[in-house]
């Protein structure tokens, strides 16, 4: 499967998750997403979207078994744009408390499970499910992201990194700070689901696509 000719975004399908909603949203914003199911095209220059639902160690194993790990590292090293969503963002980190696998290690962070009680001693309902305002300052992300509500659904979170540049936008649930957006080179990870966040998510994805396509020409 090639996608380099027209620079349409490629959606990575590790056959473990929900790529339907990402494809639906991309189609709605007027791009023609390509689905890549195996890392055969090693010279591809196109925006890459890595959506993920499921289990950290399952996806980590799929990275190794199918040869995706080297493919992702090459794309990352070449400074090509990658957008990780939810578990896709968590896979950019080093390790996770959800199983034993290793991530891609671009973000120097650990993925942790939300504690059962808040720092102030209240019961914390897990997963964190719901809407939070995302309003990044201008210099936070390399593309414009207008302020708006975004949808979160996760039991594990990316701990803020020591290097602030890697977790430029942090949010909180029950008093626990977590990275809502992470960045390493041109790889961006989002903990929330822009593909399920109405017009705000749509605007963010559209802006990412425009920025990402420019990097690929």
């Amino acid at each position: 499967m090639t996608c380099h000719s027209i620079c349409q975004p490629c959606v990575v399908d590790l056959n473990t998750g929900n790529i339907g909603s990402v494809l639906n949203m991309l189609t709605r914003i007027g791009v023609r997403p390509q689905v890549i199911v195996s890392p055969t095209d090693t010279s591809m220059r196109a925006p890459v979207i890595f959506p993920g639902v499921g289990h950290f160690s399952h996806l980590s194993r799929a990275l190794d078994d199918l040869g995706w790990r080297a493919w992702f590292n090459r794309v990352h090293q070449d400074d090509l744009p990658i957008l990780g969503i939810c578990l896709g963002a968590q896979l950019m980190c080093e390790t996770s408390e959800e199983g034993s696998g290793t991530g891609l290690g671009w973000i120097k962070a650990k993925v942790c499970r939300f504690p059962e009680t808040t720092p102030s001693g209240l019961k914390l309902r897990i997963p964190h499910m719901g809407w939070q305002t995302f309003s990044p300052p201008d210099s936070c992300l390399p593309f414009a992201a207008p302020a708006g509500r975004m949808y979160y659904a996760h039991s594990y979170y990316i701990a803020p990194t020591v290097d602030a540049a890697q977790s430029p936008y942090q949010s909180q649930y029950g008093g626990v700070k977590f990275a809502a957006a992470v960045r390493s080179r041109n790889a961006i990870g989002l903990q929330f689901h822009p593909e399920k966040s109405h017009r705000h998510g749509m605007a963010l994805l559209r802006n990412w696509v425009l920025w990402a396509q420019e990097l690929c020409v």
């Binding site: 639906n24 289990h55 897990i126 499910m129 390399p142 540049a165 399920k196």
Partner: protein, 261 residues
Amino acid sequence: MSVLATPYIQPLQPPTPRFIVALTTLNGRLVRTRNFKTPIYVGDPINAVKIFSDKSADELVLLEIGQDPFDTRRESIIRDIATEAFMPISYGGGIKTIEHVRIVIRSGFEKVVLNTVIHESPNLVKDAANEFGAQAVVGSIDVARNWLRGEHVRSHSGRYATKRKPEDWAKYCEDLGCGELLLTSIDRDGTMSGYDTDLIARVSAVVSIPVISLGGAGAIEHLRSALSAGASAVAAGSMFVFHGPRRAVLINYPNSEIVLR
């Protein structure tokens, strides 16, 4: 394109509770029920989902109550609905196997709602949670009260009574791996007379996953009282679809940020 020296940290704010639209279909036709009975045809589900998506509804749950098998016709309805929903959306009804779960999730739904199958083959909850994460599996619990059995859980869209008590069943669903519970009072369904807040309080006290209350919402005060009883999210059906004392069909969705803050 410089990056901030210090991260932007969003101030701590209590998340706005989700205000969820619950739509019921009978073999693919949108209906409203009362006490899970007397379905009234109110329209086309694809169109309704599109309207709620355009109105930026927080989330939508679609429940199929018909007894038709999970076949290709149903698959195509599921796909058509998913393409109109740019919000979190869940599907329940007739899901029996992991293959059904995959069809629903791959179409673009975030979550599956499981009810009867938890009584028949509870391992499906584990399999689905392993493959798609706990956040993708909603355990649905339908509760009724009567003079013979007292308060009990019912399966098969309310047709069969079980001996389970709601609190015990809720805990069991959580232990199996459900990431969320949809707690429905059959007695309040379609009445718009208020949630069973006592039931909500008891169930949400025994689990640590979010509990969504459904059945009885007719006014904003009802939503607030369910949340103070312990619900993490509130769902309603008739309230969004019926308007006025004559229950005229009119789709509306109040702004949840104004209503529930």
